[in-house]
């Protein structure tokens, strides 16, 4: 998701967000490659990084339960940001990497951030086996046959939490938008975007009180672009939903300064058939705000996709799922009910 884009131009942006869209994502793409609807994605090559594009991320969210039925959410993200469209080597490489990890329960939200540059072996994405890593955090393929992403281990560690998860995909990769070409604005900004939403997860969470065995499901996104946002878009609301019947849905709404919303959704059947919905099909309506990190955030949403007969309301597991990282955002597990029920993840950026 685009959104997930959060990204990281943290580096170039910090305070100067407003005029250029959130996190500098709306700036010009001079010298960088641009996504094209004509290019077909090829795997496993496209699981790796694309250094000629400005930004890229591998974004995993998991909804988990302990043996006692308690719910948890886990986030693991690796961002790449290029200061120049080249690979480089050694310390002078222009490829900068950032990791975000979080472990959310109903009461607590723990998170950590890592920064590193590529070129010295501290962070990057390698093939054979597929391994996305920064320091000791990693998402590594365990698959011996099929797609490398079919089986993964996932590890991260912060000051007061750690997790170690095994993930097995129960379905195929899902291409978002038009065969992986995902439009982000009426004026044509776009990204390459595909997902693996079918993971079954088992593993261990480590908290200061001890280890917790968990099981659940997870969703992986991989997206890259050079200019995914239009200049007047300043944030987004993004959802990934696991329905109880095994269907999946991805949806987002990009908020622009003029007040207009640009929405997009992808419906995925339990066997992996996808239907993409363009701007306007999906509607996102904030129902209730909570005071989070000194600002009011809509933590309860009404989500409707009339074409599929969907009219649901989402509730956060923990309304305070705030990522107080270099550039801050809200990211946390949710439950939903209404015409359908299930669980998923919500991300909200650009609320100042």
């Amino acid at each position: 998701m685009i959104a997930r884009a959060l990204t990281f131009l943290w580096i170039c942006l910090s305070s100067a967000v407003s005029a250029q869209g959130f996190a500098g994502l709306g700036t010009d793409a001079d010298g960088y490659a641009l996504p094209s609807a004509q290019t077909a994605l090829t795997f496993p090559t496209d699981h790796l990084s694309h250094p000629d594009f400005r930004i890229e991320w591998w974004y995993l969210t998991a909804n988990l339960q302990g043996a006692d039925g308690r719910e948890y959410g886990v986030q693991w993200t690796l961002f790449r940001s290029a200061l120049a469209p080249e690979t480089g080597s050694g310390w002078q490489t222009p490829q900068i990497w950032m990791g975000h990890a979080a472990l959310t329960s109903a009461r607590t939200h723990r998170f950590a951030q890592k920064l590193a540059r590529g070129g010295i072996g501290q962070a990057g994405v390698t093939a054979a086996p597929f391994d996305a890593f920064i320091d000791d955090w990693q998402m590594q393929s365990q698959a011996t046959t099929g797609d490398p992403l079919d089986a993964l281990i996932l590890r991260a560690r912060g000051d007061d939490f750690a997790y170690d998860l095994n993930m097995r995909a129960q379905g195929d990769l899902v291409l978002q938008g038009d065969q992986g070409f995902s439009l982000k604005s009426p004026t044509g900004e776009a990204s390459y975007y595909y997902s693996q939403p079918f993971y079954q997860v088992s593993g261990t969470l480590t908290l200061p009180d001890g280890d917790i065995a968990v099981t659940g499901q997870a969703w992986l996104d991989h997206e890259w672009s050079s200019q995914p946002l239009n200049e007047d878009q300043d944030g987004w609301d993004w959802l990934s939903l696991h329905f109880e019947d095994g269907s999946k849905m991805m949806g987002f709404g990009l908020r622009s300064g003029s007040g207009a919303h640009f929405t997009s959704a992808t419906w995925v059947t339990p066997v992996g058939e996808t239907t993409a919905y363009g701007d306007g099909a999906l509607a996102l309506e904030p129902l209730e705000t909570a005071r989070v990190a000194g600002r009011d955030l809509p933590v309860r949403w009404r989500v409707t996709l009339p074409a599929r007969g969907i009219d649901i309301v989402t509730e956060p597991l923990n309304p305070q799922s705030w990522m107080g990282t270099g550039f801050p955002y809200w990211e946390g597990p949710i439950r939903f009910s209404g015409t359908h029920s299930g669980s998923g993840y919500l991300e909200m950026t650009g609320y100042d």
Partner: protein, 796 residues
């Protein structure tokens, strides 16, 4: 009433402007020297704190390895989850710039990098093409188009550039990291460091180790400042004493007119306070000037001695100015208390005649002599039983004050002796008159004695140091060429290339270890005649060099031997399972750290991974320039890689001379102050001496002859004081070398005397004394005869 009384008192200064000027100048000088030294110290300490505070280097534990850390070692730690950040440090000698390379992505938050906050593109530029973050004063002086662009950040220490680690490695032409800083906060559940790496973990011993290292240097400066202040106070006291003495008639008249004693005292105190205030302000200006002028030299000294980066420009601190004013007031209080007390005890109707100011009785001289003996005894006791730097300085203080107090009685004794040699009535009068004047002049002469002794003492110390140091350098730097290779591979190539082209290629390599809780360097040296013949050993066991070569013992430096009280044959635990006896102790001037030498094989066996990057090359001196040219052509060697012996020696001597520039300057200033004290006292006397001179004039001695006699007497007193200052100065030098130096630096220097220096100093003292007496004498002898006659008409 107040107004009238004050006007009456003040009229004295209007009639004696020179006296007022003397008082103000004396106090201003004293204040200036003292507060100037304080300003220098404060500025230096500020720089240490700034340096230590950068990147929290003073607080965080670090990982080190001799020869540096590879990128692979760093990455291994990160991939094990340890939150460490790499640092690269090094110098660009040509630009006199210390380079500090950091990785902003993993570095802890820090003020020096605060420039990035709110300016996102700055970080991108820092990581991208790169730039140097420097302080404004450094930016102003750097002028090298080959350096990356500069950006200003006020928090960066002077002569230091902070830059991205990639840029730093490129500028320093190395591939090794200097050390890793370990963040305080670490992720949970990490494997222990010792399971992941064999790098050494070092905890910073002190908030600012530089401050500790340089403490003795600043203590020295402070002592000098204090000495100058004391000498300046002599001037002030004599000027105040004279002014009060001359105003006795005024005081009596004012009291007789009904001015209360308390009010008179208050008015006088106010008057002194006003003078102190004015002098203090002049002193602040002067002190600031002195400090600003000396600071570049102090900076050079500290950089040379300790590698400390001090800014060469002085900031103005209002608190410092305030304390300087306080010192001026304190000085006036100390110098004026006696005079005020005397006024307070003055009987209302006492005859208003001058009491031949400060005419000391025989009893006063006896008390003074007893005090002198007591102080000298204390000084001797401190030499024997003292044992700290403070005790060393206390010993110095007792010695100097004791010697000063003993001066009058010594002068009187010498003059008694001189009387036997006096010829003719005029000669006898001259000597007798000199004796009569000793008590009155004693304060000024004491100041002269202090200044001369300090000169001789410090001169002897510096001279001894220089002679010893030069000889030691000749021995230590026996090889003709020194090479530092940027990388281990290049080192191997250079070594192979040099082997057939030189007499010997001797590795210079060292490992940092922690020994008895402190850092120490262990050097491995090859078994070669270069060392056997030249290395200066203070003490050694028989066959020390043979045993060193086969790896069954170590040599240690004098600092370490003194600090840890180690002697020949003592066993020393260097590391786990590595203990060796001390075979010898060598002198190692200028090194603040403990150092050991072992055989190169013994060291290589224990630290096989430490690269040998430095070599000493033995080759006929005539072939050195050719060899340097060959090496430069053949290998792409960065600047500073090749140093020939004479260059190294010159650099070392330069550092040495820098060290004592400040000392020399303060010496001259102190002597100047003493000369000024003479002038003041003689001026005072010239007006009081009419009763002594008038009869001589009346007996028919021509004014010109009287003038010559007066000059001769001053010269005689100065010469005698100079003669007495020699033993005092030598004692001072001995305490400096054998007590203070050992405590401050950990090494002892053999004392050498330089009599030709004393002669020069004597000459200067004479000239100063003659200059100081010229004007008072001229004033005395150019008095109209009528005024001299009036002496007989008046009461005496």
């Amino acid at each position: 009433m107040n107004r009238a009384a004050f006007a009456a008192l003040w009229s004295h200064w209007r009639r004696h402007p020179v006296q007022l000027a003397t008082l103000v100048a004396g106090l201003a000088l004293a204040t200036a020297l003292w507060s100037g030294v304080q300003a220098i110290n404060a500025e230096a300490r500020k720089s240490y704190d700034r340096a230590a505070g950068v990147l929290g280097q003073d607080q965080l534990d670090r990982l080190e390895a001799s020869g540096g850390i590879t990128v692979a070692q760093y990455v291994a730690l990160r991939r094990a989850g340890w939150n460490v950040t790499p640092m690269v440090e090094g110098d660009l000698p040509k630009d006199n710039l210390h380079i500090l390379g950091v990785d902003p992505l993993t570095a802890p938050p820090q003020p020096a990098l605060a420039a990035f906050a709110g300016d996102g593109t700055a970080l991108a530029a820092f990581l991208g093409n790169g730039f140097l973050l420097v302080s404004p004063e450094t930016a102003a002086r750097l002028d090298n188009a080959d350096l990356p662009p500069l950006r200003i950040a006020a928090d960066v220490p002077p002569d230091t550039a902070i830059t991205d680690i990639g840029v730093a490695l490129r500028l320093l032409n190395t591939d090794r990291l200097s050390h890793l800083l370990i963040a305080r906060q670490q992720p949970m559940g990490l494997a222990p460091l010792s399971d992941i790496t064999d790098l050494r973990r070092v905890t910073p011993q002190d908030q600012s180790s530089l401050a500790q290292l340089t403490e003795s240097f600043h203590l020295n400066l402070t002592a000098f400042g204090l000495l100058s202040f004391a000498v300046g106070l002599f001037i002030v006291q004599s000027a105040i004493g004279l002014a009060f003495e001359q105003r006795r008639a005024t005081f009596r008249t004012l009291r007789a007119l009904g001015l209360g004693l308390r009010r008179l005292m208050t008015l006088l105190a106010l008057e002194l306070g006003a003078i102190a205030l004015v002098s203090g302000i002049v002193g602040i200006a002067l002190g600031y000037g002195i400090a600003a002028a000396l600071l570049p030299d102090v900076a050079g000294t500290l950089r040379g001695l300790y590698g400390a980066q001090i800014t060469g420009t002085l900031g103005f601190d209002p608190l410092w100015a305030l304390s300087a004013l306080g010192i001026a007031l304190l000085g006036v209080t100390a110098a004026g208390a006696q005079a005020l007390w005397r006024v307070a005890r003055m009987p209302l109707l006492a005859p208003a005649q001058p009491r031949a100011w400060a005419m000391a009785s025989g009893r006063a001289i006896r008390v003074q002599t007893a005090a002198a003996l007591g102080l000298l005894t204390i000084s001797a006791a401190l030499v024997i039983w003292g044992g700290s730097l403070m005790a060393g300085f206390a010993c110095l203080a007792a010695l100097l004050i004791g010697a000063a107090l003993a001066l009058p009685v010594m002068l009187l004794a010498l003059l008694r002796l001189a009387r036997k040699f006096a010829r003719g009535p005029l000669g006898e009068w001259l000597v007798a008159d000199a004796r009569q004047q000793v008590p009155a002049l004693s304060l000024a002469l004491m100041a002269l004695l202090l200044a001369l002794s300090a000169n001789i003492g410090v001169g002897t110390m510096v001279g001894s140091f220089r002679t010893t140091f030069t000889g030691w350098l000749d021995q230590r730097l026996a090889s003709e060429l020194y090479i530092t290779a940027p990388t281990a591979d290049e080192a191997d190539e250079i070594r192979a290339y040099l082997a057939p082209r030189s007499d010997a290629v001797l590795p210079i390599w060292s490992v940092d270890i922690t020994l008895r809780g402190a850092r120490a360097q262990v050097y491995g040296i090859a078994d070669h005649a270069t060392y056997r013949d030249n290395w200066p050993l203070l003490q050694a066991l028989p066959e020390a060099w043979d045993r060193l070569a086969n790896g069954t013992g170590v040599l240690i430096n004098e600092q370490m031997a003194r600090r840890d009280r180690l002697g020949l044959g003592d066993m020393l635990a260097l590391a786990d399972g590595w203990s060796e006896p001390v075979l010898g102790i060598y002198s190692d001037y200028g090194n603040p750290q403990a150092q050991l030498i072992t055989g190169t094989d013994a060291l290589a066996a224990r630290y096989p991974d430490t690269p040998v990057l430095r070599f000493a090359v033995r080759v006929a001196p005539a072939r050195v320039p050719g060899l340097i040219a060959d090496l430069t052509d053949r290998f792409a060697l960065p600047e500073g890689t090749l140093r020939n012996q004479s260059e190294v020696k010159a650099a070392a001597m330069n550092v040495f001379d820098q060290t004592f520039v400040v000392t020399g300057a303060l010496n001259v200033l102190t002597l100047g102050v003493a000369g000024f004290a003479m002038l003041t006292s003689l001026l005072t006397l010239s007006t009081l001496r009419l009763p002594q001179v008038a009869p001589v004039w009346a007996l028919g001695v021509a004014p010109r002859q009287i003038a010559l006699a007066e000059l001769a007497r001053t010269a005689l007193l100065a010469a005698l004081t100079w003669a007495l200052s020699i033993p005092v100065g030598l004692a001072l030098a001995w305490v400096l070398l054998a007590v203070v130096n050992v405590q401050a630096f950990g090494w002892r220097l053999p004392m050498q005397v330089f009599p030709d220096g004393w002669l020069w100093l004597g000459l200067w003292a004479l000239i100063a004394a003659l200059l100081a007496s010229a004007w008072p004498v001229w004033r005395l002898v150019s008095l109209p005869g009528g005024q001299l006659l009036r002496v007989f008409a008046n009461d005496r």
